[in-house]
Amino acid sequence: MSESTPVAVAGARSTVQQPGDSKTIFGFWVYLMTDCILFASIFATYAVLRNNTFGGPSGRELFDLPFVLVETLILLTSSFICGLAMLAMHRGNKRLVLAFFAVTFMLGLAFLTMEITEFRHLAAEGHGWQANAFMSAFYTLVGTHGLHIASGLLWMIILLPRVVRRGLTPANTRRLTLLSLFWHFLDIVWIFIFTIVYLMGAL
């Protein structure tokens, strides 16, 4: 940790990131890992309860796979575009960063809208969260992921105007880096929701 002190002195008030940044990013990484544990417990709950449909329909009758494939590809693309925004950020291209994050935001919003549409559709047909243990576990798992996506979108709504106003300052660069880690992480969680809940659930 002491190696970064000279950098801080020499580069004070410049665009160099502050010495505390590596700790901040590491801390955020640890948070993401604990979030993985949260998802692991909800996945375990789902795996245990997935056959307890109380006589109701199982995933095979309920899930619309082509619809979910489109959702998956949208989220994957948004994760990729978010990565492109990081590249633009390292080159110091503020306009490109904002453009890429705007696309990421729109794709994230499209994903969330599709997920809510799916939930409303299921609930309207009488397959709400209170129908049986399988549906409760399903809404908890997919809904928690959706809640994370909504938080990511809210984060963008708050952070992007700050980037517009103050530019790519060290603080904003750090925040954008954390946001991109969060967004990539959500895409990784979705891979497993897609595989375990939708594909294996439709078996």
């Binding site: 990013i25 590249l87 595989t195």
Partner: protein, 129 residues
Amino acid sequence: MQEPKTTAVNRRHGAGQGTILSYTLGFILSVALTLAAYFTFTNRTLPDPLLISVIVGLAIAQLLVQLIFFLHLGKESRPRWNLLVFLFMLLVLIIVVFGSLWIMNNLDYNMMSPKETDEYIMKDEGIQR
């Protein structure tokens, strides 16, 4: 001016460093793996147990692709704290998920009605009455 400094600092963090090539490669591989899983599943040419192993294998492959190309795990400088925390998380995750499934399946087996339990045990152990 700011470019090399920011880059150097980020390389030390092990976060957010990549090239256009690595991101594009990661994206193409991820799309390919997603489509592979989807079409392997919808075609249903494989028997069920094999089908499950294949799509879980494809999901794990995609996890590795995204960890390496999007999150740049393992590319940080030493000591690799990010990787260490990730591996510890993986250990806890495996214990939580497989432990839950193991215990709950066992409970399920033991909590059936006495008649069902008898039938199951006789069938599983190959006991003839």
